[in-house]
C-alpha cells in the first residue's frame, strides 16, 4: 500500500462503477409495479385557472390517476416551504407567499405544474397529459428584474400589494455616505449578473414508494441533501413523521446547487404513491429541467466606491435588485443577502460598506443558489469595479489591488460586513499567479496577436469567498430555519475494516475517496478497507448535505471528531488488554502502543476485542467500536486567490477565445490534490460559461427563449483551454483539518477575470464595462461602434 492519507492523489474509489456503467442514478432504479408520472405544466407565464377538465385524459389508455392542486388541498397538503427568512430594513419579516405543490387558482411561470398524470408507461402518461384541457384566463406578466418594481407592474402575488419580497440592508448608510463626501474619486458602475440555468447533466428524477403493509414511505430523489428533503417534505408538506419517511439520494449526476431544494415533484410522487398504492416514478426531460429547476444569479446592481487620491478604498455603496422568480425556492432569500453582501469587502481593507438589496418576484422560474451562490455576484461586482477604478484613476490595476489587500499579518480580520476572516495571504496568491501567467510578458503576446489581426487582452481577479457553511447559531440569527452542522458515524467493524456514514452527499465531488483518505490518515486503515456511505436517511444518523463547499471543512471535521472518539475508546480497550494505564497508550499507524515499551495492539486486535468482549473492561465501557459525532463549525471558511485570463477577440466576428487561464487558489489543507484540481477546473469552466456563453433569456411575454440546449449555450470542450491550476494554501484556523473548501472557488473567481480580459482587449474602443455573457454579436456591436467613433475622431 502506497501513501493514501491526506495529500495523496489516490485514484477515485467510485470510478470503477461509473466507468463500467454500474452507477445507480435515480432513473436507473425501478420498483416492482412502478407507474410513471408526467407533469402537465403551464405554457403561459401568468394566468388565472378557470377550470381543469381531466375527463378525456382519464379515459386515455393506461391512465391510473390524475391529480390537481385541488386534490392535494383536499388532503391538506402544505405548500413548499422556504428555509430562510430575511427581515426588511424596518425589522418586519419578508413576504412569503404560498407556493402550492400543484398550482391553485393561478399559474405564475411557464413550467408551473398544474396537474400530474400517472399511467402504466411514461408515454401513456405523456399522451394523456396532452388531453387535459385547462381553461386559462391570461394575465399580464413581468419577466425582467427591473420591471418588477416599475409603477403599475402586474403583481405576481396579488395579496402582497407589490412584487417586493424584501427590502434589506447591511452597514451604516450615514457613515458610508460620509466617506463618499470626502473622497478624491467616486467611481460608479452599473452592472447585471446574468441569469443562468444550472444544467447538471443528470435531469432531476424522483420515485415515491409507499409500503402498503408498513405505511412507510420511501422517496428516491436526485438530491444533494436527503435529510433536508425528509425534514422539509415530511414536516411541512406531506405531514409524514421522520420515522415513516426514508429519503434516498443514490448516485446523483451533478447538482451545482440546483438539487439542494425541495421540489414539487418529490412531494407529488411520494403522496401519489400512497394514493394509487403503487410506486410512482417521475423523470424530467431536459426541456422540463429548463422550466422547473431553480435558476441562478439574476442581479441588477449599482456599485460606487469612494477612493482616496492614493487609491485606497474608503467606502463602498451598493444597490442591488435580485430576482426571486415566481415563488421562493428553499434557500433563495439567503443568496442575495448573507451569501452576497457579507462578501463585499472581498480581499480589501475597505473600511465601511453599505449594501441594500431589494428582492423581487417575477413571472419566471424560481431563482436560488447556483455554484458559488451570491459570492460570484459579489466578486464580479467588486472585481469589475476595481478595474473601473484603475481605469478612471490611472492607477495600475495590479498595484491598486496590492495597495488595498488585507495584509497577511492582519488576521483574524473583522470586515465591516459581519464576517471575520481567519486566514489568507493574498499577496502570495497574486504573486504566484502573475508569475504562472507570465503577466509581465503579456504586451509582447498582445503585439503578436495584433499582427494576426486579433485583439488580445489579459484580466485579473483577486477574490475571496466564504464557505464551509456554517455555524448554526450565526446563521440562525440571520434567518436560517436549520442548523448547518454535519454528522459522521464511523463504524470500525470487528475485523478492522471501516464504514463511514456521512451526512454530506457526493454528486461528483469524490467523497467516497477523499473522506476515506481521512480514515487512512487518522486510523491508518488502508483505503481498500474503508467505505463511505452517503445519501440514505435510513443508514445515516443525520446530515445537512453538500453545498457551500462544506463537505470536507464541516463533514470531514465531524469525521475527525468521531475518529477521536474511536481512538479514545480504543485506548481504554488497549489499556485493559495490555494491562497498562490509559494515559500510557499511544495511537499511531493503526497501532496502540504502551509508551516506552514494545507492547502493542493493532486496531484490528482492539476492534475484535470490542465486538467479542471476552476479555474486556465491560464494567467501564460498552462493547462495539462505533462512534458518531456532530460538528458545528465555529466560523465560515475563507478560500480565496487570484485568477488570470488571457483572451483573443476576432474583431470581424466579435468572438472571444480563451487562450490561457491561470488560477492560484488558497483552499486550506488539500486532502487529494487531483480531486481539488478537478474541482477548480470544473468551476472555472462554469465561470467561463457565465462570462462568455450562458444566459437564460426571457422574452417580454414571459417565454424562456433559451429553453433547451439548442439555445442555451453550454460550454463544450472546444470552448475551453487547458487550465493552469495551482494552490498556495494557508490553513483554516478553526477546524481540525485546516481545510477551507474548493468546490466553488473556480466559478467565483473566474467570471471577472474573463470579463476584465475582454474589456482589456477592447481598451482602444473606449469600453469601460460589458455585461455578461460577452457573446460574439455583443462584442461585434461594441467594436463597430468604437470604429465608427474612432473614424469620426
Amino acid at each position: 500500500m502506497g501513501f493514501e492519507g491526506i495529500g495523496a492523489s489516490v485514484r477515485r474509489k467510485e470510478d470503477l462503477r461509473f466507468l463500467s456503467g454500474n452507477g445507480n442514478y435515480t432513473d436507473d432504479i425501478n420498483r416492482p409495479g412502478q407507474l410513471y408520472a408526467v407533469m402537465r405544466r403551464s405554457d403561459r407565464p401568468h394566468a388565472k385557472i378557470n377550470g381543469i377538465d381531466t375527463a378525456a385524459a382519464s379515459k386515455a389508455p393506461g391512465v391510473v390517476a390524475i391529480f390537481t392542486g385541488a386534490d392535494m388541498a383536499k388532503d391538506e397538503i402544505g405548500g413548499l416551504p422556504c428555509g430562510w427568512q430575511i427581515h426588511n430594513k424596518d425589522g418586519s419579516p419578508m413576504a412569503e407567499p404560498p407556493h402550492p405543490v400543484l398550482a391553485i387558482g393561478k399559474v405564475r411561470h411557464v413550467g408551473d405544474p398544474v396537474a400530474v398524470v400517472i399511467a402504466e408507461t411514461k408515454q401513456q402518461a405523456r399522451d394523456a397529459a396532452e388531453l387535459i384541457a385547462i381553461d386559462y384566463h391570461d394575465l399580464p406578466s413581468i419577466s425582467s428584474t427591473p420591471d418588477a418594481i416599475a409603477a403599475g407592474a402586474p403583481l405576481v402575488h396579488d395579496e402582497l400589494g407589490s412584487n417586493i419580497c424584501y427590502d434589506w440592508h447591511i452597514g451604516d448608510k450615514a457613515v458610508v455616505d460620509a466617506a463618499f463626501a470626502g473622497a478624491a474619486h467616486v467611481v460608479k458602475l452599473d452592472l447585471v449578473n446574468n441569469r443562468l440555468v444550472p444544467n447538471a447533466m443528470e435531469p432531476r428524477a424522483a420515485i415515491g414508494d409507499y409500503d402498503t403493509s408498513s405505511g412507510d414511505y420511501t422517496l428516491y430523489t436526485t438530491s444533494q441533501n436527503p435529510h433536508v428533503i425528509r425534514l422539509l417534505m415530511g414536516a411541512f408538506v406531506l405531514h409524514i413523521p421522520e420515522n415513516k419517511l426514508r429519503v434516498v439520494a443514490p448516485d446523483v449526476g451533478g447538482g451545482f446547487g440546483s438539487k439542494i431544494y425541495h421540489y414539487a415533484e418529490e412531494a407529488i410522487v411520494t403522496w401519489a404513491s400512497a394514493k394509487v398504492r403503487r410506486p410512482v416514478k417521475w423523470t424530467a426531460d431536459r426541456t422540463e429541467s429548463f422550466m422547473s429547476d431553480a435558476h441562478g444569479r439574476d442581479h441588477v446592481s449599482t456599485a460606487e466606491m469612494a477612493v482616496a487620491a492614493d487609491g485606497k478604498f474608503l467606502g463602498l455603496r451598493i444597490h442591488t435588485l435580485a430576482n426571486m422568480g415566481a415563488y421562493l425556492s428553499t434557500f433563495a432569500p439567503a443568496v442575495p443577502t448573507y451569501l452576497y453582501a457579507t462578501l463585499l469587502a472581498g480581499v480589501y481593507t475597505t473600511p465601511v460598506i453599505y449594501c441594500e438589496v431589494k428582492a423581487v418576484f417575477t413571472h419566471t422560474v424560481p431563482v436560488d443558489a447556483y455554484r458559488g451562490a451570491g459570492r460570484p455576484e459579489a466578486t464580479f461586482l467588486l472585481e469589475r469595479l476595481v478595474d473601473c477604478i484603475a481605469q478612471d484613476t490611472g492607477i495600475d490595476r495590479v498595484e491598486l489591488r496590492r495597495k488595498n489587500f488585507i495584509p497577511s499579518n492582519a488576521f483574524p480580520y473583522q470586515t465591516p460586513v459581519a464576517l471575520q476572516y481567519d486566514s489568507g495571504d493574498y499577496q502570495t496568491t497574486l504573486k504566484v499567479a502573475l508569475a504562472n501567467a507570465d503577466w509581465d510578458g503579456f504586451e509582447a503576446r498582445r503585439a503578436e496577436a495584433k499582427s494576426r489581426g486579433k485583439l488580445r487582452g489579459i484580466g485579473i481577479s483577486t477574490y475571496l469567498e466564504a464557505c464551509g457553511i456554517a455555524p448554526s447559531a450565526v446563521v440562525g440569527s440571520l434567518g436560517a430555519r436549520a442548523g448547518l452542522y454535519e454528522v459522521a458515524n464511523i463504524r470500525v467493524h470487528p475485523t478492522g475494516s471501516v464504514t463511514v456514514f456521512t451526512g454530506t452527499h457526493s454528486h461528483g465531488q469524490g467523497h467516497e475517496t477523499t473522506l476515506a483518505q481521512l480514515v487512512c490518515d487518522q486510523l491508518g486503515v488502508p483505503l481498500s478497507q474503508v467505505d463511505v456511505v452517503h445519501g440514505d436517511t435510513a443508514k445515516i444518523p443525520f446530515g445537512m448535505g453538500t453545498y457551500g463547499s462544506r463537505s470536507l471543512a464541516v463533514g470531514g471535521s465531524a469525521m475527525v471528531k468521531a475518529m477521536d472518539k474511536i481512538i479514545a475508546k480504543g485506548k481504554k480497550i488497549a489499556a485493559h488488554l495490555m494491562e497498562a494505564s490509559v494515559e500510557d497508550i499511544e495511537f499511531a499507524n493503526n497501532t496502540f502502543t504502551v509508551a516506552g515499551t514494545d507492547k502493542s495492539k493493532t486496531l484490528t486486535d482492539i476492534s475484535l476485542a470490542a465486538y467479542v468482549p471476552h476479555n474486556y473492561p465491560i464494567d467501564e465501557i460498552e462493547p462495539g467500536l462505533d462512534e458518531t459525532a456532530f460538528y458545528d463549525p465555529k466560523n465560515f471558511t475563507f478560500p480565496g486567490g487570484c485568477h488570470i485570463a488571457e483572451v483573443e477577440i476576432d474583431p470581424e466576428t466579435g468572438v472571444t477565445t480563451v487562450i490561457n487561464f491561470t488560477a492560484v487558489d488558497d483552499v486550506g489543507r488539500v486532502v487529494n490534490p487531483m480531486i481539488v484540481e478537478g474541482q477548480i477546473q470544473g468551476g472555472v469552466a462554469q465561470g467561463i460559461g457565465q462570462a462568455l456563453l450562458e444566459a437564460a433569456i426571457y422574452d417580454k411575454s414571459g417565454q424562456l427563449l433559451s429553453g433547451s440546449m439548442m439555445d442555451y449555450t453550454m460550454p463544450r470542450a472546444d470552448n475551453l483551454p487547458n487550465f493552469n491550476v495551482a494552490t498556495e494554501n494557508t490553513m483554516c484556523t478553526h477546524n481540525p483539518l485546516g481545510s477551507k473548501g474548493c468546490g466553488e472557488v473556480g466559478a467565483i473567481g473566474s467570471p471577472p477575470a474573463i470579463m476584465n480580459a475582454v474589456i482589456d482587449a477592447l481598451k482602444d474602443y473606449g469600453v469601460r464595462h460589458i455585461d455578461m455573457p460577452a457573446t460574439g454579436p455583443k462584442l461585434w456591436s461594441i467594436i463597430q461602434a468604437g470604429q465608427t467613433k474612432m473614424a469620426a475622431e
Binding site: M710, N719, T775, G776, P777, S781
Partner: protein, 263 residues
C-alpha cells in the same frame, strides 16, 4: 413521441407507393433532424417509412461529376477518398455537420428533403449547381430550394441521389450557433470556368440563397479581397437571440471572404 406504424420497404417502388397512399406517412432517412421533431411531438405521422433498405447509399465519380446516393451518411462523404480528391470542399462540409455520432447516421438525402434553413448541405448543392435525382425526375438545384423547409419535392417523391459537377475550386465556411452548432451563416463558394457561384445557408428567412453580389465580384476576381465592399441586405435575414439580422448580414461578408481564402 406519438406512436406510428413502422415500415421498412425493400424497394423504391414500395416506398413511394406507401408514401403516396398515405398523406400522413413520412419518410425517414437518417433521422437526425426528424427524430428530435418527433420527440418534441411537433409531428404526428401515421407511418414512418424507413428508406434504409432501398440500396440508396454509395458514391461514384465519373465524367467530372460526383454522384452521392441519397442515403449516404455525412461520415461516409467526409471520409471518401473519391470525394476528397474531386471536391474536397464537399468532404470538408460533410465532416463539419453535427458531431461524429450524427455524421454516422445523418444522410445527404435527408438533409436536402428537410431543407432546414440552418443545414449545411443545401449551400453546397446550390453553389455547385448540383442535380437532385428522385424516383420521378431530375431537379436542378436552382429549382429545388423553395424557402425554409420547403422544396420542389412532391408527395411521395423520394430523393435517390445528388450529382455535383466538379468545380475548379471550392470551399465551405461556417459560423456556428454557439449553442446548437448549426450554421448561423454558412457560405459555399465555387469557381467554375463559367464563373463563381456563392450560396449562403443559415442566414436568410428564405432559406438557402445565391448571393448575386458576391457571385459577380468573385466571377470577376476570385480572391478574398474581391468580397470587400459587397454588402448584404439585413432586411431578409433571420434574427434571434444568437444573432441579429444585422450581425448575420455582416457575417455573410466575413464568412464568404474566409471561404474564398480557403478555396
Amino acid at each position: 413521441m406519438y406512436d406510428f406504424t413502422y415500415q421498412k420497404p425493400a424497394s423504391l417502388a414500395d416506398a413511394a407507393s406507401i408514401l403516396s397512399g398515405d398523406a400522413d406517412a413520412k419518410a425517414l432517412a437518417g433521422g437526425m433532424t426528424y427524430i428530435p421533431v418527433l420527440k418534441q411531438r411537433l409531428a404526428k405521422p401515421s407511418a414512418i417509412v424507413d428508406l434504409s433498405g432501398l440500396g440508396l447509399s454509395g458514391i461514384t465519380v465519373a465524367g467530372g461529376t460526383v454522384t452521392i446516393g441519397a442515403m449516404t451518411t455525412h461520415g461516409t462523404v467526409a471520409n471518401s477518398a473519391e470525394v476528397k480528391a474531386a471536391i474536397p470542399a464537399l468532404a470538408a462540409l460533410a465532416g463539419g455537420i453535427g458531431d461524429e455520432a450524427v455524421r454516422h447516421r445523418g444522410t445527404i438525402g435527408g438533409s436536402l428533403a428537410n431543407n432546414d434553413p440552418a443545414a449545411c448541405y443545401p449551400s453546397a448543392v446550390l453553389a455547385l449547381g448540383a442535380t437532385i435525382t428522385t424516383n420521378k425526375r431530375a431537379i436542378a438545384a436552382d429549382d429545388y430550394f423553395q424557402g425554409m423547409f420547403t422544396t420542389a419535392l412532391e408527395e411521395g417523391e423520394i430523393i435517390t441521389s445528388v450529382s455535383f459537377p466538379v468545380p475548379e475550386r471550392a470551399a465551405y465556411e461556417k459560423f456556428r450557433n454557439p449553442a446548437s452548432r448549426y450554421a448561423i451563416v454558412g457560405v459555399f463558394v465555387a469557381k467554375f470556368a463559367t464563373g463563381a457561384r456563392v450560396a449562403v445557408t443559415g442566414a436568410s428567412q428564405s432559406g438557402v440563397f445565391r448571393h448575386a453580389g458576391m457571385e459577380a465580384a468573385l466571377s470577376a476576381n476570385f480572391s478574398p479581397d474581391a468580397t470587400a465592399g459587397v454588402t448584404t441586405e439585413a432586411d431578409n435575414m433571420n434574427g434571434d437571440i444568437h444573432a441579429s439580422a444585422e450581425y448575420r448580414a455582416h457575417l455573410v461578408g466575413v464568412v464568404t471572404k474566409r471561404a474564398v481564402a480557403k478555396a
